[in-house]
C-alpha cells in the first residue's frame, strides 16, 4: 500500500518549548524503522536538529530565496518520505507569512500530501492565539498539540489549558531527569543507535530513563500513524 507523504511542521512562537526535541524524536522514530526522512532546520545559525542528522536534515535560511526554494519545493515532493520541519521560533512569523503568501498548505493538499502542524504549547495567551490562528487559516491541515512537560510545564491546569487548543490530537513528551537530559544534549548521541546498541558504559538508571522516555514518545507516534492510516483507508470512508 502506498504511504501518504506527511509534512510535519514542528513549531511554536516561543523558545524552549521542545520543538527541536520533537523533530528529533520523530526523525529517530522513522529512521529506527528504516524509513527515510527528509528534515529541515530553520535555524541557520545554530542548527542543533540539523547537526544531529547531517545526512537527513538540511539547515535552511528562510530569509534567503534559495533557502525558501530548498525548503518549500522539496516539501512538495510526493515521494512517501516523511518531511519534518523544525521551525525556529525566530523564523516562526516569517515561515507562516510565507506559507500563506505562496499558498503552500493549499498546494500540499492539492498534490496529495498531508500537512500537520505539531504546535508546541506553553501557558502563554500568545501560544493559544497562535494555535487558533493556524487552525482558522488552514482548516485543511491537522493541528496536533505537543506538550513537552519538561521544557514547558503547564502546571496543575494543564488539562484545562490543553482543552482550549483546537487540536486533532496531542503528543505528550515527558520530562527527563537531569543525567538523562544531559546525555540527550550531547550532539554525538544518537537515539537510533542507542535503541539498537545501548552503550555499555552508560548508567543503567539513565539507560532505563531514556528508554522509557523514548518508547513513550514512539508509542504515541505509532498510534497516530496507525490512526491516520486507518482514516485514509478507502473502505472505511
Amino acid at each position: 500500500m502506498r504511504r501518504r507523504t506527511i509534512v510535519f511542521i514542528a513549531c511554536s512562537p516561543h523558545a524552549r518549548t521542545g520543538v527541536s526535541t520533537t523533530a528529533r524524536l520523530l526523525t529517530d522514530y522513522y529512521l529506527s524503522r528504516n524509513i527515510d526522512v527528509v528534515g529541515f532546520d530553520a535555524d541557520p545559525h545554530e542548527p542543533f536538529y540539523g547537526d544531529l542528522f547531517p545526512s537527513h536534515v538540511r539547515p535552511i535560511d528562510l530569509n534567503d530565496v534559495r533557502g525558501q526554494i530548498a525548503l518549500f519545493d522539496s516539501l512538495l515532493i510526493d515521494d512517501e518520505r516523511p518531511k519534518i520541519v523544525d521551525v525556529w521560533h525566530r523564523s516562526y512569523d516569517k515561515f507562516f507569512t510565507m506559507i500563506k503568501e505562496i499558498r503552500f498548505i493549499e498546494e500540499a493538499v492539492k498534490v496529495g500530501l498531508e500537512p500537520i502542524f505539531l504546535y508546541h504549547v506553553d501557558p502563554s495567551e500568545r501560544s493559544l492565539s497562535g494555535a487558533l490562528t493556524l487552525y482558522r487559516t488552514w482548516s485543511d491541515a491537522s493541528l496536533i498539540a505537543v506538550h513537552n512537560e519538561g521544557a514547558s510545564p503547564l502546571g496543575a491546569e494543564q488539562h484545562e489549558i490543553l482543552s482550549y487548543y483546537p487540536a486533532r490530537g496531542k503528543f505528550v513528551i515527558g520530562p527527563l531527569n537531569a543525567p538523562a537530559a544531559k546525555v540527550l544534549r550531547d550532539p554525538n548521541f544518537s537515539i537510533t543507535r542507542f535503541l539498537t546498541a545501548p552503550p555499555s558504559d552508560m548508567s543503567i538508571v539513565v539507560r532505563a530513563a531514556l528508554k522509557y522516555w523514548i518508547s513513550s514518545a514512539f508509542t504515541q507516534f505509532q498510534s497516530f500513524e496507525l490512526r491516520a492510516a486507518l482514516e485514509g483507508l478507502d473502505c472505511l470512508r
Partner: protein, 276 residues
C-alpha cells in the same frame, strides 16, 4: 511646448450612473473600444513589465485584449505575449491605421499599447494628428494612460510635457517598484509646481517582485500567469519553483488589487474586479 490648463480631466463615472448603466443588450451592441497606453520617456522604468501584468490582469478577468508593441522591429512585449501582440511603429501611417481604424471593428475591444522608451511624447503627438484624441474627446473611445515614472526629477518634466494630450484621458501616474526603484520624496513645493498643471485620475503603485522570481519568468519567456500556472509557452507542464511561482502570484494579485482600486475594468468594460 504650450501647456493648456488641464483642470477638465475626466472624472471616473460613478457606479450606477446614467453614463455607465446599460442593458445587457445595449452593452453587447455597443461596447466602447478602450485603449490603454503604457509609456514613459525614460528607459528602464518597467513599462513592458507593467504592460505584461496588465495583459495578465485583463485575461484573468475574461477581458479579451490585443497589444501593440512599439519597440520596433523586435518587441519585448511580443516575446512574452506573441499571440496577442503586434509590433508597430506608431509614427508610420499604415501602423496607425492598423491600430486606430480597427478599434471599432475588431472583436477585441481593449487595446494595450506599450510605448518604447522615449516614445511617449511622439506617440501622443501621433495620436493627436490622427484624430484619435478628438474621438476620445467625443466619447467614442475610452483612453487610459499609464505614465510610468522613473526615480529622477526628469519624470516630473515628462508629466508637464504629456499633460496637454491627456486632458480627456484617464491619466494615471504609475510608480513602479518592480526593479527596486526608490522614488524621490517630492517636497510639497516641487509637487505643487508640477501637479498644478495636470489633474490625474490617480496613482498606481506596482510593488517589487523578488529578483530571482523576475529572472526566472524572463528566462521562461512566458506571461506571468503562465509561469504561475507552471506551464511552458507551448502549454506543457513546466518545472518552475513553487516558491518563485508563489512570489509571482502574490505580486500579480497585488497589482490586480491596484487596478481594481482604480476601477480599471469598469472604465474599459463596465465590469468590476474579481474576488482575489
Amino acid at each position: 511646448m504650450a501647456h493648456k490648463s488641464l483642470k477638465t480631466v475626466k472624472p471616473i463615472p460613478e457606479k450606477g450612473s446614467a453614463t455607465v448603466v446599460k442593458t445587457k443588450a445595449q452593452a453587447r451592441s455597443h461596447v466602447k473600444p478602450g485603449v490603454i497606453l503604457v509609456g514613459a520617456d525614460k528607459g528602464g522604468v518597467g513599462k513592458t513589465t507593467i504592460a505584461r501584468a496588465l495583459l495578465d490582469y485583463l485575461a484573468g478577468n475574461n477581458i479579451l485584449s490585443r497589444a501593440f508593441d512599439t519597440e520596433s522591429p523586435r518587441g519585448t512585449l511580443h516575446r512574452f505575449h506573441p499571440e496577442l501582440t503586434s509590433v508597430v511603429d506608431l509614427t508610420s501611417t499604415s501602423d496607425q491605421m492598423k491600430i486606430i481604424d480597427t478599434l471599432n471593428t475588431a472583436e477585441v475591444k481593449v487595446s494595450v499599447i506599450d510605448v518604447r522608451a522615449g516614445g511617449l511624447g511622439p506617440a501622443l503627438h501621433a495620436l493627436q494628428d490622427t484624430g484619435f484624441l478628438d474621438a476620445v474627446r467625443e466619447g467614442e473611445i475610452t483612453f487610459v494612460v499609464f505614465h510610468v515614472l522613473g526615480s529622477s526629477i526628469a519624470s516630473l518634466d515628462e508629466i508637464t510635457e504629456v499633460a496637454p494630450y491627456v486632458e480627456d484621458a484617464y491619466y494615471y501616474l504609475v510608480k513602479n517598484h518592480v526593479n527596486d526603484t526608490t522614488f524621490f520624496e517630492w517636497d510639497p513645493v516641487t509637487h505643487r509646481k508640477y501637479f498644478e498643471k495636470v489633474n490625474t485620475a490617480g496613482e498606481i503603485t506596482i510593488p517589487k517582485l523578488n529578483e530571482m522570481a523576475y529572472e526566472q519568468v524572463e528566462i521562461s519567456g512566458t506571461p506571468f500567469s503562465t509561469f504561475v500556472a507552471n506551464q511552458t509557452a507551448s502549454g506543457d507542464e513546466a518545472n518552475h519553483s513553487f516558491v518563485l511561482r508563489g512570489y509571482v502570484r502574490t505580486w500579480l494579485n497585488r497589482i490586480g488589487e491596484e487596478f481594481d482600486r482604480v476601477e480599471l475594468l469598469r472604465l474599459i468594460s463596465g465590469k468590476t474586479g474579481k474576488e482575489r
